[in-house]
């Protein structure tokens, strides 16, 4: 081990590599690729966020101010697609690339060249997706859910989005194969599955979900493509097809997709909480079983997204019961995090703030999820702003806050520098306050009956829309602060030098065995885990 640590600086090992741009294009190093994923996802996060600002500007007051209705629909659809496929998913893959090899004591990912290919597909897909704004007819305006037969009315932007999703799906599947192979074959001696850090567990389960459902999405959108151009009638009732079939196939992908975007986040939170509570994670094995149960249940609840399509009552009962069951393992996770904090010795640096904020706000998203699972109540709330509030509570306060927590937690290991703690805390409090200001009022809007995806609304919805828009602009600005924090600690290299183990409660291999910053190549010789 001392030989590995002795290398010290990050750049000693790659004299044979091209430098400059070609270094990044040809890299097969998991850390380089992780960095690429993270920058890519942050860029897409800013693009998707800009679209969100466009949405909230239009909704600031009743009447049509800025956009034509069809452009507004493009904004909401592309905001969803970009955030899900361009921002959240690649960001978690970035964390996987950086962290999984270091946390299991492996020298790199199992398929290094495949790893490069998985990443470089993404900018191509993103370009295809974003440039669809500029073709005749504009970008997709059928919602990120792409419901048929509305998708058959779209222009060529729809085809570009379909191909972009195909490419992103291929990238995700390759990434998942890589992650599973790495985890199952390259763990350090002594690291049994039930000794793996929970972040690794979260990703192992997520990768299986991805492999299971990305082909399903690919199938659904391919059928849309052939309906559009080759005269098939999969979803066209006039030709013997069924528009509702699209929704079944889409949500068979879509619900596991929700957990794909949260399970790695659960993993991050499970690393951060024990580190700052200075106490081992409570109930490790039940945490693993809880994640596995959530993943399995995610395959049998899809039709709760479709309670208003007119299903037989037995079907509705089944999907209602299956859905409320998910509250059990999710509750177990929250209780275990609390038990980890209980009687610890807590400090509240930025990663811990985001982790606690995650538990607090994500739980609200869990509660509204439970309310939405109750089919009769869902009849009132389906396709209203209540649903918008619910999924932003789990995707922004859930996935995004866990990504923030993970960034602040690991960036000392990645760069060898400490981030600016004061600014980090500002970032947390601004994000937390403005997030709630944006999305909490949407519960009220939804209850009062405001449909989602409308560019203009009746007067009784005016006040809360104003509050939500003000919150959204604040939330957007807070992320500019985050950009500055990132630039400062990465590109500009400012900040105190980070010790090997800046968080005294952190005890996974990257903290106990590797210096900060982690050398370019790590664990040529695997450590032995007792």
């Amino acid at each position: 081990m001392s030989a590995v640590i002795g290398h010290g600086h990050a750049h000693d090992d790659h004299e044979h590599q091209p430098s400059g741009l070609m270094r990044w294009v040809t890299t097969t190093n998991h850390k380089d690729i992780g960095t690429l994923y993270l920058w890519f996802s942050f860029t897409m996060f800013l693009v998707g966020g800009t679209l969100a600002m466009g949405i909230r500007a239009e909704l600031f007051k009743p009447g049509l101010q800025f956009w034509h209705p069809e452009f507004f629909n493009q904004l909401t659809s592309m905001h969803g697609l970009i955030m899900v496929f361009g921002a959240i998913m690649p960001a978690f893959v970035g964390f996987a690339n950086w962290q999984i090899p270091m946390m299991i004591g492996a020298p790199d990912m199992a398929f290094a060249r495949l790893n490069n290919w998985s990443f470089w597909l993404l900018p191509v897909a993103a370009l295809l997706l974003v440039s669809s704004f500029f073709v005749p007819g504009g970008a997709v305006a059928a919602g990120w859910t792409l419901y048929a037969p509305l998708t058959t009315q779209m222009g060529p932007g729809m085809d570009m989005a379909i191909f972009a999703l195909h490419i992103m799906g291929a990238s995700s599947i390759m990434g998942s194969i890589n992650i599973i192979t790495t985890i199952l074959n390259m763990r350090a001696p002594g690291m049994t599955l039930m000794k793996m850090p929970l972040f690794v567990w979260g990703w192992l389960i997520t990768a299986y979900l991805l492999i299971a459902v990305m082909p399903v999405l690919a199938g659904a959108i391919t059928m849309v493509l052939t309906d559009r151009h080759f005269g098939t009638s999969f979803f066209n009732a006039a030709g013997g097809g069924d528009p509702v079939m699209f929704q079944h196939i889409f949500w068979f992908f879509g619900h596991p997709e929700v957990y794909i975007m949260i399970l790695p986040g659960f993993g991050i939170i499970s690393q951060v909480i024990p580190a700052f509570a200075r106490k081992p994670l409570f109930g490790y094995s039940s945490m693993v079983y809880a994640m596995a149960s959530i993943a399995i249940l995610s395959f049998i609840v899809w039709a709760h997204h479709m309670f208003t399509v007119g299903m037989p009552v037995v079907g509705m009962l089944f999907f209602m019961y299956a859905t409320v069951l998910i509250a059990v393992p999710t509750g177990v996770k929250v209780f275990n995090w609390l038990a980890t904090m209980w009687r610890g010795s807590m400090t509240f640096e930025t990663p811990m703030l985001f982790a606690i904020g995650f538990i607090f706000v994500f739980s609200m998203g869990g509660f509204t999820g439970l309310i939405l699972a109750i089919a009769p109540v869902d009849i009132q709330l389906q396709d209203t702003y209540y649903v918008v509030a619910h999924f932003h509570y789990v995707l922004v306060a859930g996935s995004l806050f866990s990504l923030f927590a993970g960034f602040y937690f690991w960036v000392p290991k990645w760069t060898g520098r400490m981030y600016d703690e004061t600014l980090g805390k500002w970032h947390f409090w601004l994000s937390m306050i403005f997030f709630n200001l944006t999305f909490f009022p949407m519960h009220f809007l939804g209850l009062a009956g405001m449909p989602r995806r409308i560019p203009d609304y009746a007067l009784q919805f005016a006040s809360y829309n104003e509050v939500a828009s003000i919150g959204a602009f604040g939330f957007g600005l807070a992320q500019i602060l985050f950009l500055w924090i990132i630039l400062k600690v990465t590109v500009l290299g400012r900040g105190e030098r980070a010790p090997q183990r800046p968080w005294e409660g952190a005890d996974t291999l990257e903290w106990t065995h590797l210096p900060s910053p982690a050398p370019y190549h790590t664990f040529h010789e695997q450590p032995v885990v007792k």
């Binding site: 069924d242 607090f360 439970l370 109750i374 009062a448 009956g449 009746a458 104003e466």
Partner: protein, 374 residues
Amino acid sequence: MKNRTLKLAGWLLLPFSGEAFAAWEHNLQPPVTRIATDIYELHMLMLGICFVVFVGVFGVMFYSIYKHRRSVGHQAEHFHENTTVEIIWTIIPFLVLIAMAWPATKTLLALKDTSSPDITIKATGYQWKWGYDYLKGEGEGISFLSNLSTPQDQIAGDAPKDEHYLLEVDNHLVVPVGKKVRILTTANDVIHSWSVPAFGVKQDAIPGFVRDAWFRADKEGTYRGQCSELCGKDHGFMPIVVDVVSPDKYTAWVAEQKKQSAAAAEDPNKKWTLAELRARGEKVYSTTCIACHQANGKGVPNAFPSLDGSKIVNGPKAAHINIVTNGKPGTAMAAFGKQMSDTDIAAVITYERNAWSNKTGDVIQPSEIGSAKK
């Protein structure tokens, strides 16, 4: 310029104006059916349970954050497993869920029971309006379209907004109080959703399929809802308005409708003049075509073609009649031959061929339309 500044000032001050202060609606709309009342109570029950759990769980968390901090000198303990508590916090939530699912099941069974209605009405979703056909029960045979009647200048911000901004239509759906009304939903083009929150009804309208829902309104009044499934450009502009009236009023309304439809049955062979058709066509245009092709006939670049100076509009009549009656598949241009009378179609085509810079001078008679329908 001054006008614009004023407009901007008004925009920024809106949060403090009376218009906005009235608008803090934050719960489900007051229910007027048994089902909607059950849903309302179910939601309050769920909210109550969730609130208690939330306060309990996060009470513990914030207590821990307050007490078990290093800054107050708390030393970490090292326990990390306890099978008993794991079992307890798996079982208890499970029991709570059963307590929630029980009333939900009862409500759901009632909500889905559409049997033995007094009146059956078919609601058809079109891009972007609703069509109603009274199929069975008192009023059988009545049939009409229901368009948004909020004027375009209110939407553009050039006129003050009405109380029922975006929630008003030209023809209300009328039903009697206390009668079980079954709504069959279907659609002509893409998926829409027929929703009236006060009734606890939301049912997707799916092209090629018929689904159903029901309500029995206990209170007279006017109830409003909106299309609740993204259906394209004007998804936000196809509201649903239902008048619940006394049985006597309903009978009178039915008689009135029958009389009107008898009077409206026009002689298809009547010869119309250019002026008559233009005047009628302008009205049809402003309810049906204006949303896409715009008041100035210029359409929206890259989305909806301009009619002003268009090749089809200024070309041979047959092509123009064909696209209006039969639509253009794969676009938002619907087959209006199925929705409107021959007279209306003839009128709107005549209008388009003689409006803006189009000066064909053509007069299209209703008799020319029937033969073009596919």
